[in-house]
Amino acid sequence: MVSRELTGDDGRDGPGAGPGPGPAESGTEGGLDGEVFVRWLRLAADEVERAADRLTELDSAIGDADHGGNMRRGFQAVREGLAEDGPRSPGAVLTTAGRTLVSTVGGASGPLYGTLLRRAGKALGDAERVPGAELARALRAGVDAVAQLGGAAPGDKTMLDALVPAVDALEKSGGTDFGAARTAAEEGAAATEPLRARKGRASYLGERSIGHRDPGATSSALLIAALDRAVYGDTEGDD
C-alpha cells in the first residue's frame, strides 16, 4: 500500500494533491499504466517551462547559458508527440519521448536525457501495467546508461547527483515511495552547490565551479518531482 502519509509528503502539491487520490486509483498497486507515464511527461514539460529561465541562469554561471532553452525545446516536442498518439504502453511512451529528446535538444543534455528515458522505456518492455518495483529497476537501467554515456559518477556535479539518490530511494522502498525519491533528488541537486565539476563544460572552471548549483541536477530533480506528482494522480498539465 502507498499513501501520502507513508511517503511523508507534506502536501506541497497544493489542494487536491493530499491523501485524496488513493493508491487503488493512481498509486502503484496493480501497476502503473501508460496514462501515468503520459501524465509524468506532461507535468515534466510544465515544470521545465516554469523553470526554464532559472535553469538558464544556473547554466550561465558555470556553463553556456542554454540549458533552459534546450530543455524547453525538447520537452515541448515531447508534449506535442504525446498529443498525436493514442494510449500506449509505459515502455513505448518513455522510449518515444527519449527519441524525441535526442532529436530535438542537442548539446549534452539531449543524448543524456534521451538515453535515460529510452533505456528505461526499453527495460519496461511492452507491458500494459508496470509495478513500482519494475519502474525502479527500469530507472536504474536508465541512470546506469547515463553514467556510462557521460563517463560520470555521483559527486562529479552532474545530473547523476539527483538521479542516483532518487533511484536509490525508490528501490529501497520497493518501488512505492515516490515522495522519498523526489526528496532525495531535490536534496541531491542542492548538494551539488559545494562540489567541483569534473564533467561537461562546467569542468573547465575548476575551483570556480564551486558555489553554484548544477543545472543538470536541477532539471533532473524536476523530472523526478513530476513523476511523484503523476503517480499520485496530479492532473495539472493534462490538456
Binding site: A65, G69, G110, Y204, G206
Partner: protein
Amino acid sequence: MLINVPESVVPDALRGMAAAHPELTVDVERRVVLRRDAPVAGKVALVSGGGSGHEPLHGGFVGPGMLDAACPGEIFTSPVPDQMVSAAAAVDSGEGVLFVVKNYTGDVLNFDMAAELAEDEGVRVAKVLVEDDVAVTDSTFTAGRRGTGATLFVEKIAGALAAEGAPLERVEAVARQVAGDSRSFGVALSPCSTPDKGGPTFELPPGELEMGVGIHGEPGRERRAMMTSGEIADAALDAILDDLRPDGPVLALVNGMGSTPLVELYGFCAEVHRVLGERRIPVARTLVGNYVTSLDMAGASVTLCRADEELLRLWDAPVRTPGLRWGA
C-alpha cells in the same frame, strides 16, 4: 546584432549560404550543408559539425578537397544525431564516412549516437576527435582538451587525402596524426554575445584579457592586464611548445576570434614568427584569418601542427570551399 529574431539566426544564415553558394546543397529543414555533387563515387566522405557561431567552421569548409557535409547546431549547441545521420547517408559513396568531432561533451555524445545509427543503416563510420587546446591542463578532472583551430588542419589534410581516393582507414589515420600533432592556445580581448542572451556571455572588463580562452568563451588559465601583441605571442607559444616540442617544421594558423581586424592579426602573425624563429622552429606554411571564430569575440588563437612532407603535400593540394580555397 544584425539579426531578425534570435530563434531564426541559424536557418537565416543557412538560407544566405544557399543563395551565395549554388555549388552547395543547403538543406535548411534538415540543417545540413552538402557538396552539390555528393556522393562522390569512390571517395571517402568527411562529415563534421558543431554549434554555430564559429563560421566559417564548419559549413564554410564544405567543398572539393575538404568536407563533404557539415551539420550546424544552434548557436554554441551541438547538432542532433538526426543531422549527422542524414548527412552521412547523403554523402556516403559506399567507401565510408569520417566524422570529425571537436572535443565537447555535447558534440561527442551526439556524434557517437549518430555513428551508431548510421552504422545501423549500413554506412561505415570512423571518428576522429580533435582536442588541441592546451589551456585545459587538468584533463583528469575536466571534460578534456577542447577542440579548436586544429579542426581546420584535420579537415583540410584528411579531406585532401580522401580526394585522392585513399581508403577510410588511411584517411582516419592521417586525421588522427594531424589531431595528435596539433596544439592551440587562444586569448580573448573582449567577450562574445549570443543572440539568445542578447549580451556578453561572460565578463571581461576593457583593459583585461583572458589567457587560454575557449571558443565559447570558456575560461582559460588566467585573467591578465592587457599585454602587447608580442607579449601575447610569447605566452601563447610558451604554452603550446611546452606540450608539442616539434623537431621539424610546423604549419601555423594565426586565427581571429571574430572581431579582431586583419591588420592586428598580421601584426600578431609577425610576433608568432619572431618567437618561432627564436626557438629555431621552421614555419613551413602560415594561414592568417578568421577561420574558427567565437561570434563577435575579439582576440586570436595560434595553432601549430608538426608537419612532415606528406602532410605539407596534402596541405598544398587544391581546395575549393567558401571559407578556404587555393589551387582549384
